[in-house]
């Protein structure tokens, strides 16, 4: 019962006060928007889009389930990132948009929808090489996230009860959509800002997702063909 109440509270909060049954249309539209960002460059002079190189749906199906994970950006930028953060970095670099948040959120929703049903396996994509150094970096991120969670979250939220709520993001409500990273950043304004693009929010999410390993990725209540 306590778990149920905790989940409902998180869903309500994530929807900005909207009812827990936030209209699915918001998410469906976000996924469709993400598919457009994925398949079309915003710059007609440079038509290379995400899907130009990552054209194989089988290749990308496991991506959502594999985050957070170490992204091997050129040193010293390589670090553990969430899917949203990795998408924001890629959108900034490839599409050169001044504000990457909305397209990154939409692409996150699209890839999550595309990977629905895949068992969550942070740091690992089925069929791809596993690198110990990256898994070590992820384990360190999970440990940092656990400490952050203990300091900032556990007094109100039992981790066992609240972690499934991480699967409800990106979340829609009141015509708004929001990433888990953004939600964590604004959830407790009196606490130090996590920053939706920063390492602390990646660490907290890495901790939460580590507890969800094996569960299927979901973007209920709909799915969109890739």
């Amino acid at each position: 019962m306590v778990r149920f109440i905790a989940l409902v509270v998180i869903v309500l909060a994530s929807a900005g006060g909207a009812s827990a049954g936030a209209p699915a249309g918001g998410l469906a539209e976000l996924v469709a928007e993400g598919e457009r960002w994925w398949k079309s460059s915003p710059d007609p002079r440079d038509p290379v889009a995400c899907a130009t190189c990552h054209y194989d749906p089988a290749e990308t199906r496991g991506w959502a389930a594999s985050f957070p994970k170490y992204r091997p950006l050129p040193p010293p930028e390589g670090r553990v990132m969430t899917l949203f953060q990795a998408n924001a970095e890629a959108v900034q670099r490839h599409y050169r948009l001044p504000d990457a948040e909305r397209p990154a959120l939409a692409i996150t929703a699209y890839l999550t929808s595309h990977g629905a049903g895949t068992p969550i396996s942070p740091g690992i994509v089925a069929g791809q090489a596993v690198f110990e150094s990256r898994l070590r970096a992820l384990a360190e991120s999970v440990a940092r996230g656990e400490r952050l969670y203990a300091r900032w979250c556990r007094s109100c939220h039992d981790a066992g009860a609240v972690t499934p709520a991480a699967l409800l993001f990106p979340a829609a409500g009141n015509g708004q959509v929001e990433s888990l990273e953004r939600f964590l950043g604004r959830h407790r304004p009196e606490l130090p800002r996590l920053g939706s693009d920063g390492q602390p929010s990646a660490d907290v999410i890495a901790f939460l997702m580590s507890r969800l390993a094996g569960r299927p990725v979901s973007v209920a209540p709909f799915s969109v063909a890739p």
């Binding site: 002079r45 130009t52 050129p74 040193p75 670099r93």
Partner: protein, 230 residues
């Protein structure tokens, strides 16, 4: 009967001694490069040693016209495999090779649709110089990028030695993720042990968005980039 069994065991033992141990077997990355429609592509396959995008270039090889390549490695471990073919967006791929084993990969490249955003190699020059450490070949390459987003992949490959190099930028760059400047990049290659022939050198440049120049090979004459029709 006992003699027969002993003889068989002895023969098997001697045969085992004659076989190379796993640790002595070659450590190899081999692969095939092709288009989405399955056509083989010639080009270059270059390796970073360690985590991909660390810019620590190690070995490489030419990809033949059948799309095949083979790189023998000094040791197993993690490598960043980068495959280039003229007119195509280069493909980075993090791989792990076990010592004494052969890793086989398949690389599919997609064409750069316009070539308008590709970096440009403007010229390559070779010279030589005597230094305190011996004789060096100096390679200078002028490079520009239409969008000002050059990355650290201003690369030279010596097919005679199988070594790949990142050329030094004309001025200091803050980080590997910074936009690298247009200008003349330089490589000082040690030739004190053996001379080097410009015919062995191949060059390629990629920017931060994976837009890639054509591979420039001997006689290092520039050609207008060609759009590959899908």
């Amino acid at each position: 009967m006992i003699h027969t069994v002993l003889s068989i065991f002895l023969a098997l033992w001697l045969a085992a001694l004659a076989l190379p141990l796993g640790a002595d077997a070659a450590t190899v990355i081999t692969g095939i490069v092709r288009t989405q429609s399955g056509q083989p592509l010639a080009g270059l396959a270059l390796l970073e040693k360690g985590e991909i995008h660390n810019n620590r270039w190690d070995r490489g090889t030419l990809v033949d016209t059948a799309g095949r390549f083979r790189i023998e490695l000094g040791e197993g471990g993690q490598y960043g495999l980068h495959v280039y073919s003229s007119g195509y967006i280069y493909k980075p791929n993090a791989v792990r090779v076990e010592t004494g084993k052969t890793l086989e990969v398949e690389v599919v490249l997609v064409p750069e649709p316009t070539r308008a955003n590709d970096p440009v190699i403007k010229r390559v020059e070779f010279g030589s110089s005597e230094t305190g450490k011996g004789k060096v070949m100096i390679v200078k390459m002028e490079v520009s990028d239409p969008n000002g987003i050059l990355g650290p992949q201003v690369l030279a490959f010596n097919a005679a030695t199988g070594r790949a190099f990142a050329m030094a930028p004309p001025r200091w760059v803050w980080s590997l993720k910074s936009n690298y400047p247009d200008g003349v990049y330089q490589l000082d290659a040690d030739i004190s042990q053996s001379p080097s022939d410009p015919r062995d050198w191949h060059f390629v440049v990629a920017d931060h968005k994976c837009n890639t120049t054509d591979i420039l090979s001997f006689p290092h004459k520039l050609q207008p980039p060609r759009v590959i029709q899908r």
